[in-house]
Subunit: 193 residues, 2 copies
DNA sequence: GCACAGTGGAACATCGGCGTTCCACTACGG
DNA sequence: CCGTAGTGGAACGCCGATGTTCCACTGTGC
C-alpha cells in the first residue's frame, strides 16, 4: 500500500509543525473577529511573513479548509470529553456546553462560518453530531429534555447561547465564569420540559 | 432656519424614492446572506444598474450606513408596535420577539452586523434600547422575569433565539410559524424565574 | 414635438489582495 | 566549515471590486 500523503499528520520537522500551528491559531482567532482579514493580516498575527503562509497553505481556500478541519477536530475532542452517554441527558448537554465554551474564539467561527468556509466535510454527520442527536433523543425518552424541542432546535439553541455568552465576554467586561454561569443557567431552563 | 438637508425624508420624486427603497431592500437581503457581496451583485439583486447604485450611494460605506439606519428604523417601529409597557413584562418580551421575527433577513444583519457596519449611531442608546431595558427591569420587579438574568443577557438571549429560529427557516425546511412557535416557547422558559 | 428626470451600459483608471518568484539571511547538524 | 531547512522580504503580474465619466435610451409632462 502506498501511503499517499497524510496531510494532517504528515512527517513534519518539529519546527514546521510549530509554525503551522501558529498560523492556524492566529487565523482562527483573527477570522473569528474579522472574517475578511487579508492573508497579510493573518501572517502578521501569526508573527510570520506572508510568504511563509503561502508556503504552508498555497491559497486562501487551503488555509480556510485547514482552519475548518482544525476547529472541527477541537469540537470533536470537546464532545468526547463531555461523555454525552453518562448520566442524565440534560446534565450531559450542560457538560457539552461547558466544554464548547472552552473553545473560545473558535466557536465564533463554528457559529457563523457557514458563510466563511465551504469545506466539503461541513454538512456531513460527524460522530459528534450523532452523539449529540443520540443524547437529545435519550433526554426526550428520560423526560429530562423538553420533548417539544426538535433535536435540531436544541442544537441551535445551545450554539446560540454559547455564542451570546462569548460575545458578552468580548464586548462587555463580563468575566468568563459569569458568562458561562448565565449561559448554563439559561440552557438548563430552556431544555427543561 | 435653514433646513440643511434632511437625508432620510429629502424631497424625492416618487420614482427616486422607489428605486432607493429597492436598492436598500435588496442590499439588506443580500448582505444578510452574503456579507461580502459586491456592489454589482447588489445592483443586480435590486434590478438596477451598478451606475444607479452609485448615483444614490456614492461609495460602499454610504450604502452600508444607509442600510444600517434603515434597519435601525425598522427595529424602532417594531419595538413601538410591541407596546412594551402594556401588560406583564414577560408577555411584552414575547410580543417583541414576534415583531422582530417579522423583520426577516434584516435581523440577521442586526445580529452579526457589528462586523459589517461601523455606523456611528450603533452603540448609542436608542429609545428602543431604553424601552427594552425598562421592560426587563419591570419584569424583574413584577417577578415575571428571572431576576438572575442581567438585562444585557436577556437581550442577547432574545436576539440569539431569534437568529436561530430564522436560521431554521433558511437552512432547513422548517415553516416560519413553527420556527416562531419554538422560539417563543423557548424564550418563555428561558426568561421565567 | 421637446425638455428633462431617471436610467443602463460601456469604458477607464485605481487600488488592494493574491499568488508567484527570487534572493539573502539565520540556525543547525554533519 | 559547509550543506540544508526554514524563513523574511522585495518585486512582479494578475484580477476583481471600486469609483468615475460619458453617452444613449426611455418615459413623462409641458
Amino acid at each position: 500500500m502506498d501511503m499517499r500523503e497524510d496531510r494532517t499528520t504528515a512527517v513534519e520537522s518539529g519546527s514546521r509543525a510549530r509554525t503551522r500551528r501558529a498560523i492556524l491559531d492566529a487565523a482562527a482567532a483573527l477570522l473569528a473577529t474579522e472574517p475578511t482579514a487579508s492573508l497579510g493580516d493573518v501572517a502578521a498575527a501569526a508573527g510570520v511573513g506572508r510568504t511563509t503562509v503561502h508556503r504552508y497553505f498555497p491559497d486562501r481556500s487551503s488555509l480556510l479548509a485547514a482552519v475548518s478541519t482544525d476547529v472541527l477536530d477541537k469540537v470533536a475532542t470537546a464532545t468526547e470529553r463531555a461523555r454525552l452517554d453518562d448520566g442524565p441527558a440534560a446534565k450531559a448537554l450542560e457538560r457539552l456546553c461547558q466544554e464548547y465554551f472552552e473553545l473560545g474564539d473558535s466557536l465564533t467561527l463554528m457559529f457563523d462560518s457557514p458563510m466563511l468556509m465551504d469545506a466539503a466535510d461541513w454538512e456531513e454527520d460527524t460522530p459528534a453530531d450523532l452523539a449529540f442527536l443520540h443524547a437529545v433523543r435519550r433526554g426526550h425518552a428520560e423526560g429530562g429534555i423538553d420533548a417539544g424541542m426538535d433535536a435540531e432546535w436544541v442544537r441551535s439553541v445551545l450554539w446560540a447561547l454559547l455564542y451570546s455568552a462569548w460575545e458578552q465576554t468580548r464586548h462587555y467586561d463580563t468575566p468568563k465564569h459569569t458568562a458561562l454561569t448565565q449561559c448554563l443557567h439559561t440552557l438548563r431552563k430552556a431544555i427543561a420540559p
